[in-house]
């Protein structure tokens, strides 16, 4: 799990830098790749894993550091996205 967390910290940090300084050159409308990554991790991980929630906190933190005036704005957004996906999966997918 620690390996995964370190990987997530490095990965999200690099993704945020790319988002901020590289992708902006290609279009005025750049999707939020960090949030997309958080959503994908939550959608694809197994039922019992909590890595999705941890990754949402890490991704949200880096988005806040580079793109928000206050630390917590993106952390809460990504955290609630992650929780919502978990709850929806629990109610409609994993029960089947």
């Amino acid at each position: 799990m620690i390996k995964k967390i370190i990987f997530a910290i490095v990965g999200f940090y690099l993704l945020t830098l790319l988002q901020s300084s590289f992708f902006v050159h290609f279009s005025n409308y750049v999707p939020n790749f960090v949030l997309i990554a958080v959503i994908l991790i939550n959608l694809l991980e197994k039922q019992k894993n909590n890595f999705g929630i941890i990754s949402s906190l890490i991704g949200g933190f880096f988005l806040d550091v580079f793109f928000s005036s206050y630390i917590g704005y993106y952390v809460l957004i990504s955290f609630f996205i992650s929780i919502s996906i978990k709850l929806l999966f629990k109610k409609y997918v994993w029960q089947i």
């Binding site: 830098l17 790319l18 988002q19 901020s20 300084s21 590289f22 992708f23 902006v24 050159h25 290609f26 005025n28 409308y29 750049v30 939020n32 906190l57 988005l63 550091v65 580079f66 793109f67 005036s69 206050y70 630390i71 917590g72 952390v75 809460l76 955290f79 929780i83």
Partner: protein, 284 residues
Amino acid sequence: MGFTLLDMYYYVIHNKLMRLNRKFEKNIGIIIFIIISIFILNLSPFSRGIKDFFYSISSPIQLWLWEKGSNTSGFFSSILKAEDLKQENESLKAQNQDLISGNIELERLKRENEILRTALGLGLEKEFDLEIAHVIGKEISDDYLIINKGFSNGIRSGFPVITENKVLIGKITEVYENISKAELLSSKNSSFDIEILEKDIYSLAKGKGNSEILLDLIAREEKIDIGDKVITSALGGNFPKALLVGEVKNIKKSDTAAFQQAEVKLSFEIKDLRDIFIIKDFTK
């Protein structure tokens, strides 16, 4: 004394509810803990320290990525636009003819201007107290640039940001130790006074987001045309006067409205920005 079926049902349901309640309380506890931590973090100077730390270690990487991104996007856009190039070439040739004739007059004016500048000592650096900086990033959804100069370089909130051609980009809104954030003119929070060049028309410009601004409150009877140059006015006191903002690209006029509006195309492209100037003092 014996358990009835109803008692058993009651026992099972009660147990389930208790388990759910405990789980709910645990989750709610975690959420409340996160929210309180965020509030405390933002109220303390610690959050500024965190940002300063990450900006300091990231700015060389961001600068490198910004330059690579600029080069790569230039390469791809030239491939994608290859079909349009022929057509563009034709129109450029026609424009070139007009420009050559106009250039002769400009050359004469330039020489005259240079003589006057030398005589009066009016360089850009003489006009303003400037600090050169590099753009290293842009925010995702908002029109904000991240710049590699901060408090330690004498940068303060409210300083105007321009290009080397005296084109206004925006103003500094957040300053960290070695990094600052500049709000672009097109930001939705941005509003400033402008003047339409050679027409003596003054108006209020408001950012619309996505590299666009809108001129508002222009009296209906004022005559504005597409292509009119828009410059800053000294009325608001936020920006030096006569900095180029952009040119009118669309006019919105209706018979019922008392005022007309105009959309303005900014004179800079975010992706082309590398070296910029921060005006530390324009009251020289």
